[in-house]
């Protein structure tokens, strides 16, 4: 065993390469942990979170004017488990310090301990629970108001936001103490139920009916359907990242392990010459690869668990669930996977080393295997490139396996970056398309507080500076074949100026014509050109399919298509060139219209979360790839340190040495980049439409074709930059190595 220890100690003395091995393994294991968590979090996220919170199958609201709290409480016996009654109040609130934000309704439930009730155990995401009157915890996703903010009530008093929480069952927009709810003037009582049979619409309808006509209810099936839309949108994306991460981690760990053994072959030769048996060689090689690998794995687990906190929070925000806690089985699986990959990749190298004749083992490390890379060296020698450059370019061909591993590492890194950039661009374009009504106008005029606002059209028309304008308002429109009324938007004026992206057909030009979303076409089985019928209107001809960024059943038509409908209109105005927008707004305000300059909404929460998530994962994968390159170049530089000494002795400067080492990754960088970009492109072109299809959306081609040729070329060159970044440190070491020391190195 002492001989084995001697071989292992040899590796320990090579501090730089050992540190690199530990770092590369650590980062790869970190990626494994995060990728595993992503896959775990993406697997039935709603069901997992719903079970964890003991979500409410049915949320019922009993109006105080018809039902007493005792009567509401008596309904608990109908369910397997119930919580309540909780007083519910609706308050009109406005965040302080944010002028221009109108009052909005906030429905809060008065619960003493929302985290411990037997049903709907609400998860606190930040801050603390409300403990006194004057405090509120808001539901994340409803209001994005951080703890510490103050909400002013319409009648004067304030509520301080002390925390953010999430109920999977979406039972409330906020939580206060029961006393606070009572003080706000409770509108009624909330009851939360769990049933043994809650899996079907029929069962839930029966439970709803059993509560009587005074209960307004929300079924978990509806909440689950909404969550499924969100989940389906992102599962392919996160799964793709997870799988790329796992593959890259395995590749880097395998490369590191095999390289560790290969770099010790000469030392093994010496030990064999002194009597080490083949079995001892195999053992020594495995131990030598496993020790730094395991240290790296443990560090990687720690880093992965630390990084998992923001990552799982982001993922939970994305899915509308609660963050997963650190998952021991993911950690355990990552360690087992690391050990297996290290052993599997080190074993063949160890077996080769054990079978190598002692004399050959002694020669290995001083010279590359005979014959390999000579053609490349000859070709490079004949090129007109500066010699250090051509020497470097030819160098990796002497170790083809290492070259292939490095090439794959760079390809994975480049593919991840290509995919992430494409995804971010697609999402931005989707969001831009989704904001069309706002971004294609200069001014928006809101309906007055007590009027429908149709008179505003006349005022706008008469105001100097008005170019084109149109009004739009909501309407529920009955369509035969749909269980519920479609969400409709009725317009008046030049609504084509809204500039919606058309997926098919054209914008409507006359009453009776409609454009609809993909969701509506799917739900009704209709196509562009077909006619749809329904109560309250003449048959509509579908003249176009419009993209609106949601999966809803949405329909757009001229208000004249819906005779008798009175809808509160918002007016979108395009100003004539040269009009002073501020003066125009003042002019409208002086005529009692509430008008604002139109601007794109800030990036929505989902986009911000996705951006940060993709940035984190891309940075991690690119770093893993760069460390993989770093490890390969360190091993290569170690193997060739004597040759580097010779080259320096005949006049190669440190700068030329650095150029040579960096050039040695040039081929892998170029080919890896060139291969990684199409791979990332294909994954993007598969994943993004798959995300959309999963959510019932069809995306315009413009949101998929996001890669300009210049961007693709830049990304392909990014492979070269990634490789060069990985080679930079070893290039510096090689350049600084003293010639006499390098010449003495065996």
């Amino acid at each position: 065993m002492s001989a084995v220890r001697t071989v292992v100690r040899g590796a320990q003395r090579r501090r730089v390469s050992t540190i690199v091995i530990v770092a590369a393994t650590a980062m790869a294991v970190t990626a494994t942990v995060l990728a595993g968590l992503l896959l775990a979090a993406s697997s039935a996220p709603f069901a997992t979170a719903f079970a964890g919170q003991r979500g409410a199958h049915l949320t019922a609201f009993f109006d105080a004017s018809t039902t007493t709290s005792e009567q509401a409480a008596a309904t608990a016996s109908q369910a397997e488990r119930a919580a309540g009654p909780f007083p519910v109040a609706t308050a009109a609130v406005r965040p302080e310090g944010l002028p221009g934000i109108p009052f909005m309704d906030l429905r809060v439930a008065g619960r003493a301990d929302p985290a411990r009730d037997p049903v709907d155990k609400v998860t606190l995401l930040s801050g603390r629970w409300a403990r006194a009157t004057g405090e509120v915890v808001v539901a994340r996703g409803h209001l994005r108001i951080p703890p510490g903010s103050v909400l002013r009530l319409k009648d004067g008093p304030t509520l301080r936001v002390v925390g953010e929480a999430r109920s999977i069952s979406q039972t409330s927009q906020g939580w206060v103490t029961p006393d606070q709810a009572t003080a706000l003037g409770p509108a009624g009582w909330q009851m939360l139920y769990r049933y043994a049979d809650a899996g079907t619409e029929a069962a839930m309808s029966a439970h709803q009916a059993a509560l009587g006509p005074n209960a307004r209810t929300q079924s978990w099936l509806g909440v689950r359907a909404d969550a499924a839309h969100r989940t389906q949108l992102f599962v392919p994306l996160l799964s793709a990242f997870g799988l790329i991460g796992l593959a890259l981690a395995a590749l880097v760990i395998g490369n590191v392990a095999a390289g560790t053994v290969a770099s010790a072959t000469r030392r093994i030769g010496v030990m064999k010459a002194l009597g080490l048996t083949p079995a001892q060689v195999v053992r020594a090689c495995l131990v030598q690869a496993l020790i730094p690998g395991m240290i790296g794995a443990v560090l990687g687990i720690v880093a992965g668990d630390l990084l998992a906190v923001p990552l799982t929070a982001d993922v939970a925000d994305l899915f509308g669930t609660v963050p997963m806690s650190v998952t021991p089985w993911v950690d355990a699986a990552a360690i087992v996977a690391a050990v297996l990959v290290i052993s599997a990749t080190a074993a063949p190298a160890a077996w080769r080393a054990a079978r190598l004749r002692t004399v050959d083992a002694l020669a290995v490390g001083r010279t590359p295997l005979s014959g390999r890379g000579r053609r490349a060296a000859r070709l490079a020698g004949r090129s007109r490139l500066p010699r250090p450059l051509s020497l470097g370019l030819a160098q990796p061909f002497t170790r083809p396996a290492r070259l292939v591993a490095m090439l794959l590492t760079i390809a994975f890194g480049t593919a991840a970056a290509t995919f992430a950039i494409g995804l971010a661009s697609s999402l931005r374009l989707v969001q831009a398309a989704d904001q069309k009504p706002a971004t294609s106008a200069d001014v928006v005029v809101y309906p007055g507080p007590d009027g429908i606002g149709t008179d505003a059209g006349a005022v706008i028309a008469a105001t100097p500076g008005t170019g084109s304008y149109y009004g739009r308002g909501p309407a529920d429109i009955t369509i035969d074949g749909l269980r519920e009324a479609a969400h409709g938007t009725v317009t008046t004026g030049d609504a084509g100026a809204a500039g919606y992206e058309m997926l098919d057909g054209r914008w409507y030009a006359a009453p009776g014509e409609v454009v609809v979303t993909t969701g509506l076409l799917t739900a009704t089985g209709k196509h562009v050109g077909d006619t749809v019928t329904g109560a309250g209107h003449e048959p509509f001809t579908i003249v176009g399919e419009v993209f609106d960024g949601s999966a809803n059943n949405h329909l757009y038509t001229d208000v004249a298509s819906m005779p008798g409908l009175r809808s509160p209109f918002e007016w979108y105005v395009k100003l004539t060139p040269g009009t002073d927008r501020a003066a125009y707004l003042d002019s409208l305000t002086s005529r009692h219209l509430e008008a604002q300059a139109s601007e794109a909404e800030s990036a929505d929460g989902t986009l911000i979360v996705l951006d940060s998530l993709t940035a984190l994962l891309t940075a991690l994968l690119v770093s893993v790839a760069a460390l993989g390159v770093l490890n390969a170049v360190v091993l290569d530089s170690r193997d060739r340190v004597h040759d580097i000494g010779v080259q320096k002795s005949i006049g190669m400067t440190p700068k030329q040495t650095a150029v040579m080492v960096i050039a040695s990754v040039g081929v892998a960088g170029l080919i890896g980049g060139a291969a990684g970009v199409p791979a990332g492109y294909l994954v993007h072109h598969w994943a993004v439409p798959a995300m959309a299809r999963g959510a019932g959306i069809r995306l315009p081609g413009s949101t998929i074709d996001v890669y300009a040729p210049a961007l693709l070329l830049t990304l392909a060159l990014a492979g070269l930059i990634l490789a060069a970044a990985g080679a930079l440190l070893p290039a510096g070491w090689a350049a600084r190595t003293r010639t006499a020391v390098a010449l003495r190195t065996e």
């Binding site: 890379g373 000579r374 020698g381 080259q647 005949i650 600084r736 010639t739 010449l743």
Partner: protein, 219 residues
């Protein structure tokens, strides 16, 4: 041509490989440094080649203070001034004989055509032109050392430093290299030769210096 003044080189533990040594070598001279292992011969050669720096003293070659050169300047100095021949040849095994010989000129950025002509002349002169496309691993020790000498002479260095050039060779190959060095010196090449081989020193050198424990024992 070479002026070594009061040079010391100490390594870790304060062991002195060279101890206040001074030495001069004239242009066209062939100096043999003799001495037992650990006497400081190779260390002195490394200092003259700019591969290492003295702890004390100065090393001047052709008017250049070698001990003051940085790594890059030392590399340029070696390109222009020094040809190095090692005991174990130090040829690059993945390059052909011709490519090995061409390497110093290519690193120095010399014109390709002129360099190829020069390499061809050297290979022919040294009798190894038939091996131009071969790889060093297939040559005998004597042939490999000839390739190493050709490479050392590629940039027409005024000074050739040879560290145990026959140390790894059999008798016949050693004799070949000995003749080669005599021919070079006859043609006016300044040579500093480190060797254990008294016969070689006697046959080639115009002057012999014996080192013991980093000092000049006899000159």
């Amino acid at each position: 041509m070479i002026d070594v003044v009061d040079v010391s080189r100490r390594y870790e533990g304060d062991r002195a490989a060279l101890d206040h040594l001074s030495l001069e070598v004239a242009e066209g001279e062939c100096l043999a440094l003799l001495g037992p292992s650990g006497s400081g011969k190779s260390t002195l050669l490394n200092l003259i080649a700019g591969l290492d720096r003295p702890t004390e003293g100065s090393v001047t070659v052709g008017g250049t203070r070698v001990d003051r050169l940085g790594e890059a300047a030392a590399a340029r100095y070696r390109r222009a001034t020094i040809g190095l021949v090692f005991q174990f040849f130090n040829l690059l095994d993945d390059l052909t004989v011709l490519d090995n010989v061409l390497l110093p000129a290519q690193i120095a950025g010399r014109p390709a055509g002129a360099s190829r002509r020069r390499a061809g002349e050297l290979l022919e002169t040294l009798g190894i032109d038939r091996h131009a496309g071969a790889y060093p691993g297939r040559l005998s020790g004597g042939e490999r050392q000839r390739v190493a000498v050709a490479r050392a002479l590629m940039n027409r260095p005024p000074l050739l430093l040879a560290d145990e050039p026959t140390g790894a060779l059999d008798t016949a190959s050693g004799a070949e290299v000995r003749k080669l060095l005599i021919d070079l010196h006859t043609d006016g090449q300044t040579i500093v030769l480190v060797t254990h081989d008294e016969v070689l020193a006697e046959a080639v050198a115009t002057r012999t210096v014996r080192l013991v424990d980093g000092r000049v024992a006899t000159a």
